[in-house]
């Protein structure tokens, strides 16, 4: 009993200290359940950023709280309301897309500013002036990939294999195909697959091979991509492979022969092997604390908190301001400021909340991700 009393006293003392002059920043994410890997990564990343900022002791201090939403819109709104009761002043939205759509509507109605680390669907920001994204919106990845392939002159003739019952895949493919001709890329083969017939890709690969595609673009998650790579090798087809952030994770997939992915290029905003100081220190801290290499979600969470720090400093906001006042200032700052973080340099936001940043190209070399640049 005594121990509990002491503990509670300590906890109370700590919270009251932090309460002094800190912005209350809250987010929801799946901390338990099937999608917990994403929620915990974003939360851990954000925690590290908050610890760093509070340790530096500048004008802007944070108090972070993450609530579990189990990747469910209903629970996400409940979690959001719990954060509101706690006194959240700025929000990290939700980690996954669908729950974030639900909480973003609440953010908009309550005038609490939100910057989501990783909810990438376009519906999250649609029609809401105070909801911003740290990650690329799905369709943007398509045009960014086309741009990157053209800039680096990887190929002239390109094949696209995409999943036509998946919004993520469809969104990326649509903009890629639209943008490619403008940049002098020729899409010679375009084939699809769907849930249920995603085991045999020989038709798609033969088509790409016959039409002489030098590069195959794979806007999809890593499970079907791994099969495509294996089957292409079996039929002796060796084009260049190019993927998007859904491909991140292929190396850690169970039962996947890493040598198959050798030379696969992918475009993701975060590269844990980057040699800049910021990334190095973040990766080292994350590894020391959680025993694993941070993924893109963790980096997005980390960047969100730093973006807030910068915006709040620029706006000269103080923790005693109401969420609504901060919201107005944040909209002003986020649409004008330029941010440098671990997921990109010269990060800018459009008024509709979408982010523009230079994606980082990565290539798989000797079973590890290595930066292309």
């Amino acid at each position: 009993m005594k121990k509990i009393l002491i503990c509670t006293a300590l906890v109370l003392a700590m919270t009251s200290c932090a309460f002094g002059a800190a912005f209350k920043i809250g987010g929801t994410g799946p901390l338990t359940g099937g999608a917990a890997i994403y929620g915990n990564a974003a939360k851990n990343g954000a925690e590290i950023a908050v610890e760093e900022i509070n340790a530096m002791g500048g004008d802007v201090q944070f108090e972070l709280r993450y609530e579990d939403d189990t990747h469910d819109a209903e629970k996400a709104v409940n979690a959001y309301n719990a954060l509101k009761d706690w006194g959240m002043q700025v929000s990290l939205g939700s980690v996954t897309s669908k729950p974030c759509e639900a909480t973003a509507a609440e953010n908009f109605a309550d005038r609490i500013f939100a910057l989501t680390p990783s909810a990438s669907s376009a519906a999250v920001t649609e029609g809401k002036d105070n909801v911003f994204q740290m990650c690329f919106v799905d369709p943007n990845q398509g045009s960014a990939s086309a741009q990157y392939i053209a800039d680096k002159k990887f190929a002239k003739k390109v094949a696209v294999i995409w999943k036509n019952d998946d919004v993520y895949s469809k969104g990326i493919r649509d903009t890629f195909v639209e943008k490619a001709p403008e940049l002098g890329l020729e899409v010679v083969s375009e084939t699809t697959f769907a849930d249920g017939n995603d085991n045999d890709f020989s038709v798609q690969l033969t088509d790409a091979q016959n039409k002489g595609a030098e590069l195959v673009f794979l806007p999809m998650y890593y499970q079907p991509a791994s099969l495509i790579l294996a089957q292409a090798q079996a039929m002796g087809y060796a084009p260049k492979w190019f993927g998007v952030d859904g491909m991140d994770g292929i190396l850690t997939m169970e039962g996947f022969e890493k040598s198959l992915a050798e030379g696969v290029m992918l475009l993701t905003p975060f590269n844990a092997d980057a040699s800049d100081e910021k990334t190095k220190s973040f990766v080292a801290k994350y590894q020391a604390k959680h025993g694993e290499i941070p993924n893109q979600f963790a980096a997005d969470g980390y960047d969100c908190v730093y973006a807030y720090k910068e915006a709040l400093e620029l706006a000269k906001a103080t923790p005693d301001m109401s969420a609504e006042d901060i919201c107005t200032k944040m909209i002003e700052q986020f649409t004008t400021m330029t941010f440098n973080g671990v997921t990109g340099e010269n990060v800018k936001w459009a008024a509709n909340g979408e982010v523009t940043k230079d994606p980082k190209g990565m290539v798989i070399k000797d079973g590890a991700y290595v930066g292309l640049d």
Partner: protein, 353 residues
């Protein structure tokens, strides 16, 4: 008619019905006053509408499980049919009927109709079975509904409404809107569900269920539940009465689904999975089979409980499970029941009667 029927009821039964209405109305008045005077936390305020939806779900499932005695494990399926048809119709009516309460009411009616049709179609094969077999088949149908909605596309443009299955082949004209987007569900829903609307729906479902239970048909339900062979021997049409209970229950669940969905800006079919069906069954079992008030209270308590346990973070769902087990044991313990009944003046008189 209603009044006469209630007057003719046994005093005990009438008292139970009035007590249920009374508790619901009182709870509504308290919550509404607290909500308008800002005494209610946002967390609680946000849960008012879903709680109403879950209450209706509990009441409707109670009709099947408690009154007609069939274990149904696919009730969330009807909720999702209602949710999707209700939201889709609300979106289509958006420009025609700008007045939100009317649109909400119409959407709920349409949702109830669609869910009733689904209930009828599913009822045809399902109600030929009994006991465990019926339970398993309803479970399967719940999953089938989820699967269908996960592969269903519906869009609207100047040319009218278009449907497609498996892949989106609606080919909408410019300015068209894809309303139901397969696994992505529906986005950008206008939040028109309100607590008063939820309260009215709870009251309507209670009236429907109480009237049905205390009618000739209701007595037939219970006769069939208690002894199927005896009921058949006196000429009761078993399939007809079972179907009546099943379809009514599905319709109410559909309306609840529409209410629930329009409280959020987005809805996906995967929300209404097996877990949700079980959750509703838990409300019914914890509240007592056939006991409407119990089911209603259980729905409220079990929706609020996980939110109140947030302070325990990672141990939240563990505690929830433990509390659930304790509650189940306690509500089934004869001594505790006796103790509670001593506290209840109505019950005590009941015993004396």
């Amino acid at each position: 008619m209603t009044m006469r029927r209630l007057i003719n009821l046994k005093r005990v039964e009438a008292r139970r019905i009035y007590l249920t209405y009374g508790v619901v109305i009182l709870a509504y008045i308290i919550c509404q006053t607290m909500s308008s005077t800002k005494m209610l936390s946002s967390s609680m305020r946000g849960m008012l509408v879903p709680i109403c939806a879950y209450m209706v779900m509990a009441v409707s499932l109670n009709l099947v499980v408690g009154i007609s005695g069939e274990l149904s494990l696919g009730h969330a399926g009807f909720m999702s049919v209602g949710a999707f048809s209700g939201v889709a119709s609300a979106i289509l009516m958006q420009s025609v009927i700008p007045f939100e309460p009317v649109r909400l009411a119409l959407a709920m009616i349409i949702a109830a109709v669609f869910a009733a049709i689904a209930g009828f179609l599913i009822g045809i094969p399902v109600l030929r079975l009994k006991g465990d077999y019926l339970a398993i088949v309803t479970l399967a149908f719940g999953e089938i509904i989820k699967s269908i909605l996960n592969n269903f596309y519906m869009g609207v443009d100047s040319g009218g409404v278009h449907f497609s299955m498996l892949t989106d082949t609606t080919r909408l004209l410019k300015g068209g809107r894809l309303i139901i987007r397969g696994p992505m569900g529906i986005s950008g829903i206008q939040k028109i569900s309100t607590f008063p609307a939820g309260f009215i729906l709870v009251m309507i479902s209670l009236m429907v269920v109480f009237n049905l239970v205390n009618s000739r048909s209701g007595r037939a339900f219970m006769a069939i539940r208690d002894d199927r062979i005896a009921a058949e021997s006196i000429g009761l049409d078993i399939t007809k009465y079972k179907m009546m209970a099943f379809v009514t229950s599905a319709a109410l669940a559909g309306a609840a689904g529409a209410l629930f969905a329009m409280n959020y800006s987005t809805i996906v079919a995967n929300k209404f999975d097996f877990n949700t069906s079980i959750l509703i069954l838990v409300f019914v079992v914890l509240g007592g089979q056939g006991n409407m008030l119990g089911g209603i209270i259980a729905a409220a308590v079990l929706t609020i409980l996980p939110e109140k346990l947030r302070q325990f973070s990672d141990y939240r769902m563990l505690l929830y499970a433990i509390i659930l087990i304790v509650m189940m044991l306690a509500t089934n313990n004869a001594e505790i029941k006796y103790f509670l009944s001593r506290l209840n003046p109505f019950k005590r008189r009941e015993e004396a009667e």
